[in-house]
């Protein structure tokens, strides 16, 4: 069974026909080739599939593509594009690179999107707030220590 949806993906209008059971994560990956969104568990636990839906982070394995008709979805690809003010990367991404806040990179796109949500709400988070803010994103490698460092540095820079 299929349905046609219209939505905005990474700032561009998008119309697509999807099998009604298609998860948002699979829609993005398989139909739109936006493979920066990853699939790690499909039970809402790992956060590798995190995307921004109408301004808020969600786990795209717990959302049906058919249900996001009319919504705006931003993936790591679109966010990176948006974030490019000068240079190639957003300051969050620069800080991740500087502190090697990633190893295999599988959790990273989701982690970056969770960090941007956190910093949007709390520009100057405490260490505990950082850790709670990324608790929905598992990093098995696990770069938590350097992720925390990276976020602290961004917060420090923006408060200067």
């Amino acid at each position: 069974m299929h349905t046609t949806i219209q939505l905005t993906v990474n700032n561009a209008p998008c119309e697509a026909t999807v099998d009604t059971r298609t998860l948002l994560v699979d829609f993005l990956r398989d139909q739109l080739d936006l493979t920066g969104t990853h699939l790690g568990c499909a039970t809402g636990n790992c956060g590798a599939c995190t995307v921004v839906l109408d301004g808020l982070t969600v786990k795209a394995c717990t959302v049906l593509a058919a249900d996001v008709a009319g919504s705006a979805v931003t993936t790591i690809e679109g966010w990176t594009q948006d974030a490019r003010q000068s240079g190639d990367l957003h300051p969050i991404q620069d800080a991740f690179v500087k502190h090697h806040a990633l190893q295999c990179g599988f959790c990273t796109p989701g982690m970056v999107l969770s960090v941007q949500q956190l910093l949007k709400e709390k520009p100057n988070p405490t260490e505990a707030e950082i850790r709670h803010g990324i608790a929905g994103n598992l990093c098995r490698c696990t770069g938590y220590a350097s992720i925390v460092k990276a976020v602290q540095e961004i917060a420090r820079m923006s408060s200067e």
């Binding site: 069974m1 349905t3 099998d19 009604t20 059971r21 298609t22 998860l23 699979d26 499909a42 039970t43 809402g44 956060g47 995190t50 839906l53 808020l56 982070t57 969600v58 786990k59 394995c61 717990t62 959302v63 049906l64 058919a66 249900d67 008709a69 009319g70 969770s114 949500q117 956190l118 850790r131 709670h132 803010g133 608790a135 929905g136 994103n137």
Partner: protein, 292 residues
């Protein structure tokens, strides 16, 4: 991945949703309402449930409204955990509900999951049910025969079973406005951050001007297949001085009530029962510290 094909419905009103539910029931087809999907989608991805129809509530407007209605707060079933946690109205008039919402899952789960969905799913370890039970919340439900209101003590029937029938939609949850001097707390014991509660305890404590107990209500998840409320002792403690003995009496009562906890892999029944005591103590203590 969802294993079985499904028909997706996008109603724009509650009535339409109810009609769709009834239609499916008549056709003998399994239908599920979809709210935030934070419980339903993982279950479908694992193949634990495979409804033939999904009826999304995410396109019904107004289901996420929060209003003050005299001495009650009326909260739309579609209100997300995040909105509940951040709502100034809820923080002011029923802070325990905000505190509870804020400790559910993680940021992404709270951004998407809803109060109504949590009740519809009714996991024995879910955080809202014990709190709604202690608040004597009322549940507005719309079905093919119109609307009815169910009291908290009647909605959570048995292990993962509510009194909602398959063709009904929960639309609103009504909780009392708490007097500003009430001390409230919800504390929760999990294995890792963002996990479900092994035990969760909510407490509301009102004090008389002399520091004695004006009212106390305690609701607990993890003590039994359904949330328990310490009704018996709540009355007898009125007028008592709130001190360590008082707190211990509540904790003991909680322990006695928790005679049937659902055993888990890392929490056998006897251990859970002890944890009910510990976390009841902590909840009441915090509530008493917060009571003006």
């Amino acid at each position: 991945m969802i294993r079985a094909p499904l028909q997706f419905h996008r109603p724009h009103s509650i009535d339409e949703a109810v009609r769709l539910l009834s239609q499916c029931a008549q056709d003998g087809e399994d239908a599920k309402l979809l709210a935030g999907g934070q419980s339903l989608l993982p279950s479908m991805n694992l193949g634990l449930v495979a409804p033939a129809h999904i009826i999304s509530l995410n396109h019904v407007t107004g289901l996420d409204a929060i209003r003050r209605d005299d001495d009650m707060l009326a909260i739309g079933a579609g209100t997300t955990h995040r909105s509940l946690a951040e709502s100034e109205v809820v923080q002011t008039y029923c802070p325990i509900l905000s505190e509870t919402a804020a400790c559910i899952g993680d940021v992404q789960v709270r951004n998407r999951g809803t109060l109504g969905g949590s009740i519809g799913h009714f996991d024995p370890a879910a955080d809202y049910p014990p709190v709604l039970v202690l608040l004597d919340a009322a549940f507005r439900i719309v079905g093919p025969n119109g609307e009815r209101t169910v009291a908290a003590k009647d909605i959570f029937v048995d292990y993962m079973t509510t009194s909602l029938s398959a063709d009904e939609v929960l639309t609103e949850i009504r909780v009392p406005v708490l007097s500003p001097d009430t001390g409230t707390a919800y504390v929760k014991f999990t294995r890792v951050e963002g996990g479900f509660a092994i035990v969760g305890v909510g407490a509301c404590l009102g004090l008389n001007s002399d520091g004695t107990c004006r009212s106390i209500r305690v609701g607990i998840c993890g003590a039994a297949p359904v949330p328990v409320r310490l009704t018996a002792i709540e009355d007898t403690l009125k007028g008592k001085t709130v001190d360590d003995t008082f707190i211990e009496a509540v904790a003991d009562a909680a322990y006695e009530t928790a005679h049937d906890p659902v055993a888990e892999l890392h929490a056998a029944a006897d251990y859970k029962r002890e944890m009910v005591r510990v976390f009841t103590r902590r909840a009441v203590k915090t509530a008493s510290e917060r009571a003006a």
